[in-house]
């Protein structure tokens, strides 16, 4: 059996999906769009369950709604589990009324039932079931209660049929039934409603008769049809709620109390700054860099061990070089940063699941609007400090098209976790005591660049002034340890996997192109290698920010397109082969190939790598969200242009300061 999981945002869908599937899940993409498509097998059964995007309605106004609709129409699931936040039942049941119009069985999973008592709510689920003529189960996805019952219900097929209960007033109901009679297709009741609403998706089925019916109804209610239908759905829901839900007393909720502090007129901003600083301090600052040194030491020991071991088994010099200078140097340079990333991912996950992220969007909206962005732009920026790809994907929640596009183009400016290695390497070596300050300044520079770029874009490209911001303010929730661990593990694992695949492959290729000449002779001087000759052709591009024609820096920066951390790997491999060093700190030894770097060019080179075109993964995500290749190319050119100009300016100013 194929089951679709449908529900509002924040209804606990991901939590339920994880609880129901355990470890049997795979993540793919919806055809044509980047939203994650999660599919899994329900524990202890062979039923497939698909997690649909969080939606509030099945109207065609957002891409999430469209995806869900297409899924139901094209892939025809056998059952829909409608997950409902039991503490917010009125809004949730609105979507339910739409799902119940489909020709598909629906189970209502009343989630968050563990919170009902605290909110002094009592829900009579049997009554609800008999009113809606559909099966209802009370669950708590978080605590795990009711899940076995839900699975058993599905497995035994004891699901009430969906008899399409009448929910509208008589005249509207008649019109819908009349249209449905003329339609020989599945979901005919649902389609009839959409035809009355004049939904573009079904324009081919429109007729004069339907138009007349619509007109008649609009006249009678003195309103337009979408409003009439929405009104009557909600009237029905309110009636149902009245009969099944009892609210005992009103108490000030914990959320209200917390918001008095976190959304306080004076305290909100300082608290936000403190939280951001704490995250930065943990992930990038003192704590983060301590962990890097530790892992770096381990990698160094491993490298020594391998080279001794290979020598002891009489491996040929090129094999030792491939393993030590190519693979370990390249992959190790990236793996150093895993602990830092784990800290960063934990912080971001906490911001998201506790509900604080929605508050940030809420109170900064006013400020961001001035720059042509939305408060919700902040979510992509914060998520983007982990990885730009999910960051770019999370721009979907931004209603306004202009604000959304600008956010997509600007989000890659935020230093993502893969850029951390670059910052750590350069700032650590050249700014020693001021290391923390310098890396902080880069984040600050990123924010300033984003805001200034936004102003420029708004002035010249995105001139529309309509905008909207509609979002639910979810309650504060305690984070769930299991969910947190899983989320952090998934992200960390995918980073490690990249180190083991793309970075490994690149490191081997670089080692190869560095060790061989165009005549495929091994052991030539690096200056005569294939890679060096390619780099030399292009090194003029970086002259204005390095003050030196460096083929090594040039090819490394270009490899940032594959993955930003590859810049560091590449430098480690090049320095290792050129100068016989393997340890990170020795990359910049005075006599070595990167010995020309000084604080000014180091800062400039960091700025360029941070702000220039993001990695291919992020460019792909931009392409999908922006919709056309042309727009994507413009965005990438814009980013690289900004990066180059900033790099040159920084080098100029830096060199002046150093002269003084």
């Amino acid at each position: 059996m194929r089951i679709a999981l449908v529900g509002n945002q924040n209804s606990g869908k991901s939590t339920l999906f994880n609880t129901m599937t355990g470890d049997n899940q795979k993540i793919g993409n919806w055809p044509g769009v980047t939203i994650d498509r999660k599919e899994g097998t329900v524990k202890g059964t062979n039923h497939t369950i698909v997690d649909l995007p969080g939606i509030y309605s099945l109207s065609p106004y957002t891409s999430e709604e469209e995806i869900s609709r297409n899924f139901v129409f094209e892939e025809r699931p056998d059952l829909i589990i409608n997950i409902v936040d039991a503490t917010s039942i009125e809004r949730s049941l609105y979507l339910t009324t739409q799902l119940l119009e489909l020709d598909c069985k629906v189970i209502l999973a009343l989630n968050m039932s563990d919170l009902l008592e605290k909110k002094s709510l009592v829900i009579d689920e049997e009554k609800l079931s008999s009113l809606l003529h559909t099966s209802v189960v009370k669950i708590s996805a978080l605590k795990g209660s009711g899940i076995d019952e839900l699975i058993k219900l599905i497995d035994e097929g004891r699901i009430l049929d969906n008899p399409h209960k009448k929910i509208y007033q008589e005249d509207l109901e008649e019109a819908i039934e009349d249209i449905a009679k003329g339609l020989e297709m599945v979901h005919s009741r649902f389609v009839s409603v959409k035809l009355l609403e004049n939904d573009v998706k079904f324009a081919s089925l429109q007729s004069k008769d339907i138009e007349a019916k619509r007109h008649q109804l609009e006249q009678k209610y003195n309103s337009d049809i979408e409003e009439i239908i929405a009104n009557q759905r909600y009237e029905y829901v309110v009636e149902v709620k009245k009969q099944c839900v009892v609210k005992k007393e009103y108490k000030e909720t914990i959320t209200d109390k917390l918001d008095k502090v976190f959304l306080n007129k004076w305290a909100a901003l300082p608290i936000f700054v403190v939280i951001m600083f704490a995250i930065y301090f943990l992930a990038v600052g003192v704590v983060g860099s301590a962990t890097v040194d530790f892992v770096d030491g381990l990698v160094g020991k491993f490298s020594d061990f391998m080279s001794e071991w290979l020598a002891s088994v009489n491996a040929s010099p090129w094999a030792v070089s491939l393993v030590v200078d190519g693979i370990i140097a390249g992959v190790g340079a990236v793996l150093n940063f895993v602990p830092q990333l784990i800290i960063l991912f934990i912080c971001i996950c906490l911001l998201e699941t506790t509900g604080y992220m929605s508050r940030i969007a809420f109170f900064l909206d006013r400020l961001f609007k001035k720059f042509g962005l939305s408060g919700k732009s902040l979510i992509p920026f914060i998520v983007g400090s982990g990885c730009a790809v999910p960051g770019i994907m999370s721009t979907r929640t931004i209603e306004d098209e202009d604000e959304k596009r600008m956010t997509i183009m600007l989000a890659p400016f935020i230093p993502c976790s893969a850029k951390l290695p670059i910052i750590a390497l350069f700032a650590g070596f050249f700014f020693d005591r001021y290391n923390g300050l310098v890396s902080a300044s880069l984040y600050f520079l990123a924010v300033v660049t984003i805001l200034i770029s936004a102003l420029i874009m708004k002035k010249f490209f995105f001139k529309g002034d309509s905008s909207a911001f509609i979002s639910e303010l979810p309650e504060y929730k305690l984070p769930n340890l299991k969910y947190l661990l899983r989320d952090v593990w998934d992200k960390t694992f995918s980073f490690i996997k990249r180190a083991g695949t793309i970075i490994l492959l690149c490191s081997v290729i670089i080692w190869f192109t560095l060790s061989f000449s165009w005549k495929f002779q091994y052991g030539v001087d690096v200056e005569d290698s294939i890679l060096a000759s390619i780099g030399k052709c292009l090194s003029w591009i970086f002259y204005p920010m390095l003050g030196e024609l460096s083929w090594g820096a040039t090819v490394s920066a270009i490899q940032g397109l594959v993955a930003k951390e590859q810049v560091v790997s590449s430098m480690a491999v090049i320095a290792g082969l050129a100068d016989d060093v393997t340890e990170g700190a020795l990359i910049f030894s005075q006599t070595g190939i990167f010995g020309f770097f000084n604080p000014a060019s180091a800062y400039a080179f960091m700025v360029f790598n941070l702000f220039s075109a993001p990695c291919f993964g992020a460019i792909g995500a931009m392409r999908r969200e922006l919709g056309t290749t042309k727009k994507t190319l413009i965005a990438v050119a814009f980013q690289t242009g900004v990066a180059w100009i900033l790099g040159c300016i920084v080098f100029g100013i830096g060199s002046l300061i150093m002269l003084l």
């Binding site: 917010s88 009125e90 929405a230 209603e399 509609i470």
Partner: protein, 86 residues
């Protein structure tokens, strides 16, 4: 300019309400159809009761309580919603 405060029974736009006021929605207008539909889907329909619960520290957007949950919305969008103070 001092903001005019609307009293019980008076009609105005939702954006004119101040923190702590309650009102009934009397109609939606504006020509952004997608926005309108989204408001309807989120439960902003004629006759529904709203309560101005929180206002962002910088004065915009506003958090309203509606149908038992909280909805954030910009003042400029609230101008498209007619209400009657209760």
């Amino acid at each position: 300019m001092k903001k005019r405060i609307y009293n019980k029974g008076e009609e105005c736009h939702m954006s004119d309400l101040i923190k702590g006021q309650k009102a009934l929605v009397t109609g939606l207008h504006g020509d952004n159809l997608a926005l309108r539909r989204r408001l309807l889907d989120m439960g902003v329909t004629t006759g529904v009761e709203v309560f101005i619960k929180k206002i962002a520290p910088m004065g915009d957007p506003v958090d309203i309580e509606i149908r038992g949950y909280e909805l954030c919305i910009r003042k400029s969008d609230m101008r498209n919603i007619d209400v009657k103070v209760i």
